[in-house]
């Protein structure tokens, strides 16, 4: 058997990065496993039952829910992205498939994304520079697809001072650069 392969973050380092810029803190998260979970046609009831049994939340459209071990955010009609701790759920598809059997299509998405958690006493000035989402009016738990600096992202408003951004993994450096210079421009 070959030697185990080492992991690198999306930014190309062994450990995730953290930035503090003014009052804003940007934390790269490398400890979350992701899978897309979609309802197979006509299997809605079985899907919901399975999700409930497994403790997987199924938030309404444009919403996110946290939980242990599973959190989830809505990404499309009858489709969610399920979050779980990477350490315990690295092979998340293998863990979810038995729960849903033929009721769901499940795809590993862990490394399709880079995740940055942003926090600041007031994120509004930063968010209005980054995305056309109406962050100020959005409720806590809002989740939406958006574009930040030409990069397709998911944005989750955890609270007025905490937000999660999932961006395309290959553009992690560009996305972080955008977050940094924008945060810096706010003084």
């Amino acid at each position: 058997m070959a030697e185990p392969l080492h992991m690198l973050t999306a930014l190309g380092h062994a450990e995730p990065e953290t930035r503090a810029i003014g009052s804003c803190r940007i934390v790269e998260r490398f400890d979350v496993a992701l899978a897309s979970v979609a309802i197979r046609r006509g299997k809605g009831a079985a899907f919901e039952k399975a999700a409930k049994a497994a403790g997987i939340p199924l938030p309404a459209a444009a919403r996110a829910e946290t939980g242990t071990p599973y959190g989830a955010f809505w990404v499309a009609p009858e489709m969610w992205m399920v979050e779980a701790p990477f350490a315990s759920h690295e092979d998340i598809v293998a863990l979810l498939k038995p729960a849903f059997a033929e009721a769901a299509s499940i795809t590993e998405q862990t490394d399709a994304w880079v995740r940055f958690d942003l926090s600041a006493p007031d994120l509004r000035p930063l968010m209005e520079k980054l995305s056309n989402l109406d962050f100020a009016a959005a409720p806590d738990g809002m989740a939406s697809r958006t574009v930040i600096e030409h990069i397709g992202c998911y944005l989750i408003r955890r609270s007025a001072d905490e937000v999660t951004i999932y961006g395309a993994r290959s553009s992690a450096a560009s996305l972080l650069h955008c977050l940094e210079v924008t945060a810096a421009s706010l003084g």
Binding site: N132, L133, D134
Partner: protein, 982 residues
């Protein structure tokens, strides 16, 4: 003496003094000044030269409509041309220079154009520079550009940042004059989300420039109090120094905030300007009105200004533009300028009122039925000549003349969706028409309500109406008392009878004579008038001159002004710097990059990268001693074919397709069949567009009963995914299919060459012998226990695999592959070697997948299954697509192995002239094949499959090359595919 024209009052901070320079001379001003007000305070009226005639010019206005006082602000990398001095906020150390003058502003050699003005009438360019045609680009245009210029760029990179952002509101109020403030107060007090934007650095609009009162307060004080109240409302966002530049779709407005323009250098990290996209549910235009002049001979001298601007400089900035002032007016508002100036101690010599009737102003020489017929003063106004009602002429010694021809509502933004403004006889001007941007209404002077009370009342009423649309109730608080004088105006557009020129559009040097010439030459439509004379085509979009031009044309044609019509305005409302539009997207930050999983490793190797869309891919990886790219590429190709090569192919699109109908779905989107593909196998697929042309290609693997993984080309990864989503959601919503992109989730490497299997066997935990993992096999495997995927597919023509691991392990895998390959002299190859090998093998890629080629053209016609329906199948068989003499993919070799091929060459029979009728097709992809030792190429050739072995000419008229070539099979290398199957 500094600031010799400074008088008492105004809204400037006299406790602080700013020093600034204009054309190298030092002056003083105060916070609250504009560059124009400060220069005027210092007695400087000459600020520029005109565009065409290089006439001396000073400011006409006190606002953003300014056509004349264009200067260059700052110097070096921060130099900004064509800046209106009337809106440039003064700061300490500001340095401005004049433009479009040589050698100096006071003595401009190009003013010779003024003497030659009879040559430079409307249509001059069109009539003069007709021939020879070849002269236009190389001779005429450079000369014209030098002679008729504006400011200059330094060609140094702007050191400042420009930002962008997104805002949302219930009501966007455009303009913070009395109407805008009234509307914002009404909406803000009702709890609505309000954005109040104003281009000025001080909100209040004309209230800051007037002496009138609102309630028991001065207008400016009322405005300041209103702004203070609004600033205290958390639901209101005040945006001074912010110009709404355009109305776009769905209630979206563009806005430019000049964050740091009033500072010498932006504060640390702050942008110079921010381009905002404002998403409004409703919008209210309260942009006020712009005064227009009356045209008369030589009405463009420095010192001839709009009457409202003269009183604005006096009231707001404490500046008397001249010590002896006359007013020329056709309306009552001009009289207000006279009384305000007199109240400020300015010597008002006369009011020249073109109206014959009406009351006379007390204490001022008020001449009824009179008009100004000429002016004098080389670099600034010294006198005006007037004609009394009885025909007698008189010359008055004056240093400034205020002219008022009435006020034009600033309808511009209401026209941005091509709504035509309507003529209002009462105010003799255009007001907003119907059919403007949805959700946008107008109030105050912008809507034709020119009194202060009218502004307050319509602002309030329109805010209430807009919010009512949204289900928000706003109350109508009682309005403070304000003047409500009716508009008294008798149209007067220009003074007839003179022989000289009378300017109507000073920025483009368009005169009454030009309009008359356009009429004489039958360019009478407003659209023709505009293009022929360039009326309104300067950076001010004719804010002061357009209506004059239209009215004069109406008079010439005998039509009314509404019959004559008007052109409409376009975004931006006022000029926007290119840097603002670019924002942070410039230089290396023009777009984000996508980095492959092997990027870090490849960088360490000194790889040369190429941009492929947003991806950076290793193009080749030079080794020590290789000085020329071909050395590296040849080595990579030969080593791969000899032993084994590794290439990062993560950029290919990967789409996970699941569901019980996934196979049937693929049968419909691919022209060949996939539902019969066995689990654990993959197949090459061809995807057509509806019109039968090839859209994309790639391999798709069946990973489970209802699970497929599709690969696409790198270029079409997004468009194929979008197409599949369209098929799934719109065409066949009843199918049980779920899709998601996994391009980024997996790091995927091609391992190709005779020793590929041996190399991989060192890493893969499972048996991958030919028996266990045959050609076109696919499956889940493990590497040291880590989940991974293996596909036995080849683009190079070699026995090859693609191996994938979760992306975070991609760096480790490339290093492991290289290490495991060391005993085989493995190489890592880039996109160039990849391209060479695919041409050697005859595989199509982007150059052949050009959107105009069918499967038959590519030699893949048999892949289009007739046994089932699929997108594009029917139209791929239509007449003209299936004939035997259409284009076919062929291989091309030079007859002389030393001969060079040029991509884009066209195929010609020997002796045929290089004309379209003889065109046989073209050469799509060319490489040097180290395997064959010569250039080789692919191409589309008419009836190419019937011409194998023929000799033709490959002719490229652009590159001026011609090579005798032999048409061969596109499969240069291992045509039987024996190496693939290993």
């Amino acid at each position: 003496m500094t600031q010799s024209n400074r008088i008492d009052g105004g809204q400037i901070d006299r406790s602080r003094t700013f020093r600034f320079t204009f054309d190298g001379l030092s002056y003083e001003g105060h916070p609250g000044d504009t560059l124009a007000s400060a220069l005027l305070a210092n007695g400087v009226r000459l600020m520029g030269r005109s565009f065409k005639y290089h006439r001396p010019r000073g400011p006409l206005s006190a606002g953003s409509e300014e056509p004349n006082a264009l200067v260059q602000l700052r110097s070096g990398a921060r130099q900004e041309p064509n800046t209106r001095a009337t809106v440039a906020e003064l700061f300490d150390g500001l340095a401005a220079t004049s433009q479009n003058a040589w050698p100096s502003l006071r003595f401009d050699a190009m003013a010779v154009n003024d003497k030659l003005n009879t040559f430079f009438t409307a249509g001059f360019y069109y009539k003069t520079f007709m021939w020879p045609a070849a002269f236009w680009e190389k001779v005429y245009e450079p000369i014209i550009r030098r002679a008729a210029g504006l400011g200059a760029l330094t060609r140094q990179e702007d050191p400042d940042d420009y930002d962008k952002g997104f805002l949302h509101c219930d009501l966007l109020v455009i303009g913070a004059g009395p109407a805008g403030l009234s509307a914002a107060l009404t909406a803000g007090r009702a709890g609505a989300r309000v954005i109040l934007a104003d281009e000025d650095f001080r909100m209040g609009g004309r209230l800051n420039a007037e002496t009138l009162t609102i309630g028991d307060q001065a207008g400016a004080a009322w405005a300041a109090a209103a702004v203070a109240e609004l600033a205290g409302l958390p639901n209101v966002r005040l945006m001074p120094r912010t110009t709404i530049i355009g109305a776009f779709d769905h209630g979206i407005y563009g806005a430019v905030e000049r964050v740091s323009d009033h500072l010498a250098v932006p504060e640390n990290g702050k942008p110079r300007q921010t381009l905002w996209r404002i998403y409004s549910r409703r919008a209210l235009l309260a942009g006020g009105a712009t005064e227009r002049p009356i045209a008369f001979e030589n009405n463009d001298r420095p010192g001839v200004m709009l009457a409202g601007a003269l009183r604005a400089y006096a009231n707001r900035w404490g500046v008397a533009v001249g010590d002896r002032v006359a007013i020329f007016t056709n309306n009552d508002d001009g009289l207000r300028s006279a009384t305000d100036l007199q109240a400020k101690g300015v010597d008002v010599i006369a009011v020249i009122d073109s109206r014959p009737d009406g009351a006379l102003l007390p204490g001022i020489r008020h001449l009824k039925g009179a008009e100004v017929i000429d002016s004098a003063g080389r670099l600034g106004l010294k006198s005006v000549t007037l004609r009394h009602a009885n025909g007698r002429t008189e010359t008055l010694r004056v240093s400034a003349l205020g002219v008022s021809g009435g006020w034009n509502p600033n309808v511009n933004i209401t026209s941005h969706h091509r709504s035509k403004p309507l003529w209002d006889e009462g105010i003799q001007s255009f007001v907003p028409g119907t059919g403007g941007p949805a959700g946008l209404t107008a109030a105050g002077a912008a809507a034709g309500a020119l009194s202060t009370h009218g502004a307050l009342a319509t602002g309030q009423a329109q805010a209430i109406a807009a919010l009512a649309d949204l289900g928000i109730t706003a109350r109508a608080d009682s309005l403070p008392a304000a003047e409500d004088a009716p508009v008294s105006i008798l149209p007067k557009w220009y003074v007839a009878g003179g022989k000289g020129r009378a300017w109507i559009d000073p920025q483009n040097d368009v005169t009454v004579k030009d309009v008359k010439l356009a009429h004489k030459e039958n360019f009478t439509s407003v659209e023709h008038l505009k293009r022929y004379t360039t009326l309104g085509m300067a950076t001010d979009q004719g804010k002061t001159g357009n209506v004059l031009g239209l009215a004069i044309m109406a008079g010439l044609t005998g039509q009314s002004i509404p019959e004559t019509g008007t052109t409409v305005y376009r975004p931006p409302y006022s000029p926007v710097a290119m840097g603002t539009l670019a924002g942070r997207s410039r230089g290396k930050e023009f777009k984000p990059f996508r980095l492959t999983p092997s990027h870090k490793w490849a960088s360490e190797q000194g790889a040369v990268f190429v941009e492929v869309g947003m991806w950076l891919r290793a193009q080749w990886l030079p080794r020590a001693g290789e000085t020329q790219w071909r050395e590296s590429v040849d080595r990579e190709v030969l080593a791969t074919r000899k032993s084994v090569g590794i290439c990062d192919v993560t950029t290919l699109g990967k789409i996970d397709i699941q569901g019980t109908d996934a196979g049937a779905f693929l049968d419909r989107v691919y022209c060949n069949t996939f539902s019969t593909l066995a689990v654990g196998k993959c197949r090459y697929g061809l995807m057509l567009r509806e019109d039968g042309m090839v859209f994309d290609d790639g391999t798709t693997a069946r990973m489970g009963e209802h699970e497929y993984v599709m690969t696409t080309t790198t270029a079409n990864a997004v468009t194929v995914f979008r197409h599949l989503e369209y098929c799934r959601q719109v065409l066949w919503p009843d199918m049980d299919v779920q899709l998601i992109s996994t391009t980024e989730a997996w790091a995927q490497y091609s391992v190709a060459g005779p020793n590929a299997r041996k190399l991989l066997a060192k890493l893969v935990d499972q048996d991958i012998s030919d028996a266990a993992f045959p050609y076109m096999g696919a499956g889940n495997i493990t590497i040291g226990g880590l989940r991974a995927r293996l596909f036995r597919i080849s683009f190079s023509g070699e026995m090859a695999y693609e191996i994938a691991v979760p992306t975070r392990y991609g760096d480790a895998l490339i290093r492991a592959l290289v290490e495991a390959g060391r005993e085989f002299d493995a190489v890592v190859y880039g996109t160039e070697a990849l391209g060479v090998m695919r041409v050697e093998k005859g595989h199509v890629a982007g150059n052949e997948l050009n959107g105009q080629s069918s499967a038959l053209n590519m030699g893949l016609g048999k892949m289009v299954s007739k046994k089932k329906d699929s997108i594009g199948m029917v139209l791929s068989q239509r007449e003209g697509m299936t004939g035997p003499n259409g284009y076919r993919l062929v291989g091309v070799k030079p007859v002389d192995p030393a001969g060079k091929l040029t991509a884009g060459s066209h195929f010609l029979e020997p002796g045929a002239a290089p004309v379209m009728e003889n065109d046989g097709g073209w050469l799509t992809s060319k490489v040097y094949s180290p395997h064959l030792g010569c250039d080789i190429a692919l191409g589309y050739l008419k009836a190419g499959d019937q011409k194998i072995g023929r000799r033709m000419r490959a002719v490229n008229l652009l590159a001026r090359t011609e090579t005798e070539v032999e048409i061969v099979s596109p499969h240069f290398f291992d045509p039987e595919g024996e190496r693939l199957r290993g």
